[in-house]
C-alpha cells in the first residue's frame, strides 16, 4: 500500500506543536502507577468531584427531572423530589422545544441566556444583553471559539500571563497564532506589572507581531491571586491605549478565600470607568459550571459574554458556533441553575446554602493548610491562595538536583514532580507546563483533596521534599529565587 495519509510526518504541524501539560507526562505516569495498584492522589486537574466533593443536591434534582420528564406526571414524584425542584424542572422544560433531547439555538436556550444576563446585572450593577451571551460546552470551548475568531496567522499575538493555564498556550498553537507572554510578579503576590506588560508588547511588536488580545485569569490559575480594582483599571486602560481585546477568564469567581480582595468582574470595572473606555474597550468574559462550589466539570457547561464587540463580528462568531449545532442542553440547565439558585423561602434554600457554604469554607481552610504546609518545607516558598483552586509553590532546586535532572533528560521541575509521584503518589503538574521565569521552578497542586486527608498529604510531601533537598543540597546555593 502507498504511505498512509495520516502518518505522523504528515500531520498538521500546529497539532504537533501544541502542548497540554495538565494531562501530560506526569498524568500519564500517574495513570500507569495507578494501574499497577499504587494509590495516587490526583491533584493535577481542578476536578473536585473526582476527589470526593459531593454535588449540590438541588441542581441534580432539577436536571434528573428534566432528563425524565415523565416522572413529573407520576403521583409519587413528591416522595423523592422536593416541590421547588419539580417546579424548576417544569420551568426549564418550558424554555426548550423538545426537552433535553432537542438541539437548542446555537447560542444556547434564550431563556437561560436571559437568566445569565440577570445574574450579571445583579452582580455588576449594569444591565447585560442576553443576545451577547453565548452558552458553551464549558469555558474551554468558549475560549477556543473566540481565539479562533481572532487568530489569522503567526503574526497575530495573544498576551497571556505567565504562569498561565495551558489551555491558552495549547489553543494558540493549535490555531497557529503567537503567544506573547507577560510575567506575573511572584514577589508581589503574582500581581500584574504594567511596566513588564508594556515591555512584552514592545518586544513582540519589534518582531513583527500584532498584539490583538490580552488574557487575564482572575482569580488566577495556577497562581491563585485576585486582581485588585486598581490593577484591573490599569489593564483596561492598557487595552484601550493599545487597541487590544480583553479576554477575562473569570471561571473562579466563586472561589475566594480571603476578604480583603473580593472578586470584581472586568466588566464592572470597565463600566465604572465610563466613556470613552466603557463604550470602546472590547471584552469577552468567560464563566463555567465546572468551578466554584459547583465543580460540575463533567457537565460541560459555560458561557461567554461579549461587550463592545461589533455586531458583524458577533454574527461571525454565531456562525461558527452554529457549525457545532448547540451546546449540550443539560449543561445549559446547570448554568441556568447556577446563576439563579434557590432563594430565601424556597424549600431547598437552607440545604443549598448549607451545602455551598460547607464546600467553600472547607476550601478556604484547605487553602490555608496547603500554603502553610508548603512554607514549612525546606527550600519551598508559596504565596497564599487568595482564590481559585490551586497552590503554586516555588521549589528552590539545588544545583545538584538540576544536574541530576539533566542527566536523566528531564526538565528539573518535571524530574522533581516525577520523584514526588513515585515516592508519595501525589500527582502534581510541573511549573514548566504553565511557564515560569528562567531558572525558577514551581509545581501546581489543587487544593481539592479531602480536608481530612490534607494533613497526611502535606506530611508526606514534606517528608519527600526535605529528604530530596537533603540528598541534593550541598549548602552552596540554590536556583535563583
Amino acid at each position: 500500500m502507498s504511505s498512509k495519509s495520516l502518518d505522523y510526518e504528515n500531520l498538521n504541524e500546529n497539532v504537533k506543536k501544541c502542548q497540554y501539560a495538565v494531562r501530560g507526562e506526569l498524568y500519564l505516569r500517574a495513570s500507569e502507577l495507578q494501574k499497577e495498584g499504587k494509590k495516587i492522589i490526583f491533584t493535577n486537574v481542578g476536578n473536585p468531584h473526582a476527589l470526593g466533593q459531593k454535588p449540590l443536591t438541588f441542581p441534580r434534582q432539577v436536571v434528573a427531572l428534566c432528563q425524565a420528564p415523565f416522572l413529573l406526571d407520576d403521583p409519587n414524584v413528591g416522595l423523592v423530589f422536593p416541590a421547588d425542584a419539580i417546579a424548576r424542572a417544569k420551568h426549564y422544560l418550558t424554555l426548550t422545544s423538545g426537552g433535553l433531547g432537542a438541539y437548542s439555538d446555537s447560542r444556547g436556550l434564550p431563556g437561560v441566556r436571559k437568566e445569565v444576563a440577570e445574574f450579571i446585572e445583579r452582580r455588576d450593577g449594569y444591565p447585560s444583553d442576553p443576545e451577547l451571551i453565548f452558552l458553551t460546552d464549558g469555558a474551554s470551548k468558549g475560549v477556543m471559539q473566540i481565539l479562533n475568531a481572532i487568530i489569522r496567522n503567526a503574526s497575530d499575538g495573544i498576551l497571556v500571563p505567565v504562569p498561565q493555564y495551558p489551555l491558552y498556550s495549547a489553543t494558540i498553537s493549535l490555531l497557529g497564532g503567537s503567544l506573547v507572554p507577560y510575567y506575573l510578579e511572584e514577589t508581589a503576590n503574582w500581581g500584574l506589572d504594567i511596566v513588564n506588560l508594556r515591555q512584552s508588547v514592545a518586544k513582540a511588536r519589534s518582531q513583527g507581531i500584532t498584539v490583538r488580545a490580552m488574557v487575564i485569569i482572575n482569580p488566577g490559575n495556577p497562581t491563585g491571586q485576585c486582581l485588585s480594582e486598581t490593577n484591573l483599571k490599569e489593564i483596561i486602560t492598557f487595552c484601550y491605549q493599545n487597541n487590544v481585546v480583553l479576554l477575562g477568564d473569570e471561571v473562579y469567581q466563586q472561589n475566594i478565600y480571603q476578604d480583603e480582595r473580593p472578586f470584581i468582574s472586568a466588566r464592572k470595572v470597565l463600566m465604572d470607568m465610563g466613556p470613552p473606555m466603557s463604550k470602546e474597550v472590547e471584552l469577552v468574559s468567560f464563566h463555567t459550571v465546572s468551578k466554584g462550589y459547583w465543580g460540575e466539570c463533567g457537565q460541560r457547561g459555560g458561557y461567554f459574554e461579549m461587550t463592545n464587540i461589533s455586531p458583524k463580528t458577533v454574527e461571525e462568531i454565531y456562525k461558527v458556533a452554529s457549525i457545532s449545532l448547540s451546546p449540550n442542553v443539560p449543561g445549559q440547565i446547570f448554568m441556568g441553575l447556577m446563576v439563579s439558585p434557590p432563594k430565601p423561602g424556597d424549600i431547598s434554600y437552607d440545604r443549598y446554602v448549607r451545602e455551598s457554604k460547607g464546600i467553600l469554607e472547607s476550601l478556604r481552610r484547605r487553602a490555608q493548610i496547603m500554603t502553610d504546609g508548603f512554607n514549612s518545607c525546606r527550600n519551598v516558598v508559596c504565596n497564599f491562595t487568595e482564590g481559585a483552586m490551586y497552590s503554586f509553590p516555588q521549589i528552590r532546586l539545588p544545583p545538584k538536583a538540576i544536574e541530576a535532572a539533566k542527566s536523566a533528560g528531564k526538565v528539573p521541575d518535571v524530574y522533581y514532580c516525577l520523584k514526588l509521584l513515585e515516592a508519595t503518589g501525589i500527582s502534581t503538574v510541573p511549573g514548566s507546563g504553565f511557564g515560569q521565569k528562567e531558572g525558577v521552578f514551581h509545581l501546581r497542586t489543587t487544593i481539592l483533596p479531602a480536608e481530612e486527608d490534607m494533613p497526611a498529604i502535606m506530611d508526606s510531601f514534606k517528608k519527600f521534599n526535605d529528604e530530596f533537598m537533603e540528598q541534593y543540597e550541598d549548602h552552596k546555593g540554590y536556583s535563583r529565587m
Binding site: 494531562r23 414524584v77 470551548k141 460541560r300 449545532l325
Partner: protein
Amino acid sequence: MRRFASEKSRIILAHRRNLYSVVQNSTSPLYPQRFSQQPHLCSSFLLRFFNTAPSPSSSSSSSSSTDSMANDYSSTPVTVDSINPKVLECEYAVRGEVVTLAQRLQQELKDNPGSHPFDEKLIETILVVTRDEEILYCNIGNPHSLGQQPITFFREVLALCDHPSILDRSETQGLFSADSIERAFQILDQIPGRATGAYSHSQGIKGLRDTIAAGIEARDGFPADPNDIFLTDGASPAVHMMMQLLIRSKNDGIFCPIPQYPLYSASIALHGGTLVPYYLDEAKGWGMEISELKNQLESARSNGINVRALVVINPGNPTGQVLAEDNQRQIVDFCKKEGLVLLADEVYQENVYVPDKQFHSFKKVARSMGYGEKDISLVSFQSISKGYYGECGKRGGYMEITGFSPEVRQQIYKVASVNLCSNISGQILASLIMNPPKVGDESYESYTAEKDGILSSMARRAKKLEEAFNSLEGVTCNRAEGAMYLFPRILLPKKAIEAAKSVNKAPDTYYVSRLLEATGIVFVPGSGFGQVPGTWHVRSTILPQEDRIEAVISLFTKFHKEFMDEFRD
C-alpha cells in the same frame, strides 16, 4: 431576538444575491475555474468579499443604524476585516432566504391573522422541521423538537446517574424500572468515584468505552478495542478534530460527496483546506461510482491538491441512500490503493427503512475483505442525535479510529485533552444506545415498542412522501432507504427558470420560496447541498408527525400543479 435574527438574515440574503450574480458571471476573476459550475462550492471563496460589500437593501432605518454602529468599530482590533479569514470563508449553506421568508410570514400571521391562505399553526408545525436550518445553520433532523418522545429506559438511567443519591431509597423503585436502577448502578460503578460531575479521561470513561466496543463487536462480528474509541460532544466535534489533524494548508484536499451535508464544507473551510467533490449518481439511487472518484482524484492532483481523505455518508444525508456492500468494498479498495483515510459518517446506522438494504459498517466491510489494522486508516463516526433515539440536545457521540500509528493516536489524544472531556450525560447515553435492554430485562418490551414505533413511523412517512413526490409532474424521487430525508429532483420549466433569474434567485430557491408563500411548507433548496449543474432539487425531512403528513402532501401537490400550470413550456 427577532430583530437580531432578521437583521442577520438580511445580511446573508444580500450576500447570497450578490454571490449568485457573481456566480452567473463566470468571467469574474474571483471565480475559481475548478468549481466553475458549482455555486455552493465557490461561495466559500467569495463570501469573504461580500461580508464587507455594502448591502443593496440597507436603506431601511434599522439596517442603516446597524451599519453606522458597525462603522464605530472600525478602529477596534476585532472587526470583520481582521478576524480569521477562515472563519469568514466557512459557508452557511442552508440558512438562507427561504427560512427568512418563513420567519417573516410567521410574523405577519401573528400580527394579522388571515393575511395568508394558510394558518399560523401549520407554518408553525412545519417550521419546526427546519428550526435547525433557521437557527442552527446545518440541515439536520431535530426529532424531539417535533414531538418525538425520548426512549424511557435511557432517560430513566440518565436521571438516576444525575441524581445517584436516590438510588438506595425504596420510593425510587416506585418511580423507576428495576433494570434502569440496576443499569445506573452498573454505570456508576464504571465511573471513578461514581462522580458523574467529574472530568473523565479525555477519550471518555473507560467502562463506557468497553460497553461501546462490545456493542460494535456484536454489530460487526469483528473485534473492537475500547482504546480506539473517542467519546465526543456529538459527531460534529469529532469531524472537526479529524479535519484539524489532516488539513495543513489549502493544498490538502478532502473528498466529499455532492450532494453533501454542509458540516463537511464548513469544517474544511474553517480549517483552510480544499473540498474535492465527487458526485453521487442520482440515476443509480445515489450510488458511488468508482470511475467518478478516479476522475476527480486525477483532476485534483493535476491541480496540485494532495487529497488526504474520503468522506462517505452512509446512510446518506441529504440523499437517503444505503450503500450496497459491494459498493462499499470498492470504496475500501479505492482508499487503500490511493492511501486515503476513509472518514465514514455512520450516524444514521439505525435509520434503515427498506427490507432489501442493510447497514454495514465500513469497518466490518474492510475486515471481511481481510484488511486489518495496518492495511487501512478508517474513522467511523456515530452520534446519539439520530437513529430512533434522536437525542440531539445531549451532544453525545464517538469516533472509532483504526489503522493509525501510536504517534498519531497520541496526537489525537492530545487534541482531545485540550478540551478535557466530553459531557458525561452524552457519554452515558452513547453507551446505552450501543447496549440497549436485552430480552428478559424488565424494560425490554417497552423499549422495543418505543423503538419500533418510532422507526416504523419514520418508514411510513418516508414512503408516503416519496410516493407523493413521484406522482407529480416533472418530479422524480429516489427511495429514502435510510437517514431522515428525501431529496427529490424537480424538472423546472424554462419559463420558471427565467422567472427566477428575473428576481435574482436560484431556480430551486425560487421554487421553494413560492411554495412557502403559497402553503407555509418549508423545504430547503438543493443548492445548499450541491447538485449536478442544471439539475434542481429540494430537501424535505421525514420528521413531521404522521398526522401532519397528509396535509403537507395535499398542500404541496396543489401548489406544484398550479406552479406547473403557470410556467409549463
